[in-house]
């Protein structure tokens, strides 16, 4: 099965990784008690693991090679994956979406409040993912400080509620608007920057917002955060905890449906196509007469709007916020959702969010390894499947010749 050469190579890889991880994985020192713990079993794990992974990668490449040869020979016809067929045919897509919607509507009545709560969180990330998808997936602007807008939304509701007792429904549009304003505020100066500089500036911007929230005590109450934020009221009625969660769940469902609708319509709109054009080639896009400045700014503003709305909902859900919820890691998770799901694909982002948020929730034992896996997944995806789990299929038109001489 494996050649001797390959086995030797994998053995070398495993030796190399054993060496690489030696000081950090094997030795554990306690500088206060002054003891050294040698964990040799970790070295064995690393060696065996890297040996197997190296073989797996080898098999993968071989298979790809074989497929390429066969394709060159014209042996196989590419069949479309099932998921793409479903997504493309309204005949299948509409009943499926209605079925999913019905399932999600009855969900809280079948499962416990705890489960509902988890699902609310997952739905929040679906919305965040879809919002970031506008900026990263459609417009191709890598935004690493997306969480800043989320924080703006959350803090605008928290502060308005704390100082002026503003209710959830009034704060929702205000939070969205404020976030959009911050989006434009950030968008203006970075218009001229290229991809990777943009990423760093947005990252810096996100950190600045967080640091200000952390240090400006008079304004945001610093690291201790703001507590006792009121939950959304149902036409002025105070709800019990259980029904408040149920209510929030339905709000979330409605918001997600609304988001999907809007993003879907946006994609095919004039501005949506301008974003895609901008992503593909800035210069060609400008040559076609698209206003680069306006297009980029709308992408930032619209992306930020969703983050602001989710921020308001987040503050209402947890009733307590502090700057620790808005770290760079959060931005990375949202980015991971978009990348894993498939940049630009709505369905992909939904799948990505559900997988990335629900899986660690149910695999509590593995939660320590969650971020480790996130990082590994990002790298592996970029190398082996850069288009994501559900690739975004570009709309293409096929011109079929008309049947027989209908004039020329």
């Amino acid at each position: 099965m494996f050649s001797f050469e390959q086995l030797k190579k994998s053995l070398l890889v495993s030796l190399w990784f054993a060496f690489l991880t030696f000081p950090l994985l094997v030795i554990k020192v306690d500088p206060i008690e002054r003891t050294v713990l040698w964990r040799w079993e970790n070295m064995a794990f690393v060696a065996i693991g890297s040996f197997l992974i190296s073989l797996l990668v080898h098999v993968f490449y071989k298979q790809q090679e074989r497929r390429r040869v066969r394709r060159a020979a014209g042996g196989i016809v590419e069949s479309e994956p099932l998921i793409q067929v479903i997504l493309k045919e309204p005949k299948y897509l509409y009943p499926m979406s209605i079925a999913v919607l019905l399932c999600s509507l009855v969900f809280p009545h079948l499962f416990s409040t705890y489960q509902t709560n988890i699902l609310i969180t997952a739905l929040m990330y679906v919305m965040l993912g879809l919002g970031l998808n506008i900026v990263v997936g459609l417009a191709g602007l890598l935004d690493l400080g997306y969480v800043a807008f989320y924080a703006v939304g959350a803090y605008s509701y928290a502060l308005l509620n704390y100082h002026f007792d503003v209710s959830f429904w009034i704060a929702l549009p205000i939070g969205a608007l404020l976030a959009a304003m911050f989006g434009v505020l950030l968008g203006f100066p970075v218009l001229r920057l290229r991809g990777d500089y943009l990423a760093i500036v947005t990252l810096g911007f996100g950190e600045i917002i967080r640091l200000i929230l952390e240090n400006w005590n008079e304004f945001s109450q610093g690291p201790s955060g703001i507590s006792n934020i009121s939950r959304p009221g149902f036409f002025g009625m105070e709800l019990s905890l259980d029904s408040a969660i149920l209510y929030l769940y339905y709000i979330m469902i409605a918001m997600v449906v609304f988001t999907i609708f809007v993003v879907n319509r946006l994609q095919d709109s004039r501005i949506g196509r301008a974003w895609v054009a901008l992503r593909e080639d800035e210069i060609a896009c400008q040559a076609m007469g698209i206003d680069k400045r306006k297009t980029k700014l709308t992408a930032f503003a619209l992306g930020a709007t969703w983050a602001g709305m989710v921020g308001v909902i987040f503050a209402a859900k947890t009733t307590f916020i502090n700057p620790a919820s808005f770290t760079f890691l959060e931005s990375a998770i949202i980015l991971c959702i978009v990348v894993l799901g498939g940049m630009g694909s709505i369905f992909g982002v939904i799948v990505g969010a559900l997988v990335l948020i629900l899986l660690p929730e149910y695999l509590r034992a593995l939660s320590d390894y969650r971020m480790l896996a996130f990082g590994a997944v990002l790298v592996t995806m970029m190398i082996f499947r850069p288009q994501g789990v559900v690739a975004n299929i570009r709309r293409s038109y096929q011109f079929k010749p008309k049947p027989e001489s209908e004039g020329r």
Binding site: P23, L24, V29, N42, L142, I200, G204, A332, D368, F374
Partner: protein
């Protein structure tokens, strides 16, 4: 006045560490045009390796000088190996891919390494053994400049001089400069570009590791999270000086270090990081080419 001098020296110390890390960023960017997001993590791994080695050696009762040498050597060797491996795993397969893919891969690598150290070692701050003793001849100046400041400045200067010599006069340095100018052309004249890129990662990582060890022993504690902030600040330094330019990275490091030191000294220490980030944003907006960088026209 004494306060000013104290701030000045602490700024220089910080600046030299930023410069050491920034060199790695700038060299990699100059050659493959990628922001190596995981570079801050390499610095952190260097600091952790030297922490582990130094503590083990001091427990087994080695003399101080051998601890310093061995810990520094281990940090440099292992960090360089990490740098080499990361380039091979995460960046080399993506060299022809769009920039965004490589950048996301780099971010993934950074998250992975951070959590790897968190799981392998610990999430708490660890006390770093004091490696640099207080010299007697520094006694009269001790109230505004510590012995470790002097050692850091001296080591940084030495490392930079070494790097400059290497790049200016060695065969490999020539190959590196050629690759930075035009990769395809370098390949055509027979330069093993892959080897040059690997070597760039190795050198940059080793420098970052030395910086990591020095600053960790200066501050006296380390944590798995130090790489993130240090990485961004060093990147700021690299951009400030003009990314791709080696003297620029050094200059940028010192400017950033001094700015931070004076800002925290005279304005407020709460906003230390805000100053650095604001500086980064301002530079990228108003002078994206940096202080010593060249303005490059984009080819269509």
């Amino acid at each position: 006045m004494e306060y000013f001098i104290e701030l000045f020296f602490s700024g220089l110390t910080r600046g030299s560490i930023y410069a050491l890390i920034a060199l790695g960023y700038t060299m990699v960017y100059g050659i493959i045009g990628l922001i190596n997001f995981a570079h801050g993590e390499i610095y952190m791994i260097g600091a952790f390796t030297s922490f582990v080695v130094a503590t083990v050696l001091s427990i087994y009762g080695f003399p101080l000088l051998s601890i310093i040498v061995l810990a520094g050597l281990a940090a440099a060797v292992w960090s360089a190996s990490y740098g080499y491996t990361i380039e091979k795993i995460a960046y080399r397969p993506l060299r022809q891919a769009p920039r965004l893919s490589a950048l996301i891969s780099a971010i993934g690598m950074s998250i992975f390494l951070q959590n790897y150290v968190l799981l392998a070692q610990s999430s708490d701050f660890q006390p770093f053994p004091e490696l640099i003793p207080d010299f007697d001849f520094m006694e009269p100046y001790a109230h505004f400049v510590g012995s470790s400041d002097v050692v850091i400045l001296f080591t940084t200067a030495l490392a930079m001089a070494g790097l400059t010599l290497l790049i200016k006069f060695s065969r490999m340095g020539k190959a590196m400069r050629a690759t930075a100018q035009d990769r395809t052309m370098a390949m055509l004249v027979g330069i093993d570009v892959n080897r040059v890129i690997s070597l760039t990662f190795v050198i940059g990582s080793a420098l970052a590791a030395i910086g990591g060890m020095l600053i960790a022993s200066h501050i006296g504690q380390i944590n798995f999270f130090i790489g993130f902030i240090a990485g961004i600040k060093a990147f700021t330094a690299a951009v400030l000086g003009g990314i791709g330019s080696i003297p620029g990275a050094v200059l940028g490091g010192f400017v950033l270090g001094l700015t931070e030191s004076f800002a925290t000294g005279y304005v407020s220490s709460d906003y230390e990081d805000v100053f650095a980030f604001s500086l980064l944003v301002l530079i990228l907006i108003f002078k994206p080419a940096g202080l010593l960088g060249r303005e490059e026209a984009e080819k269509v």
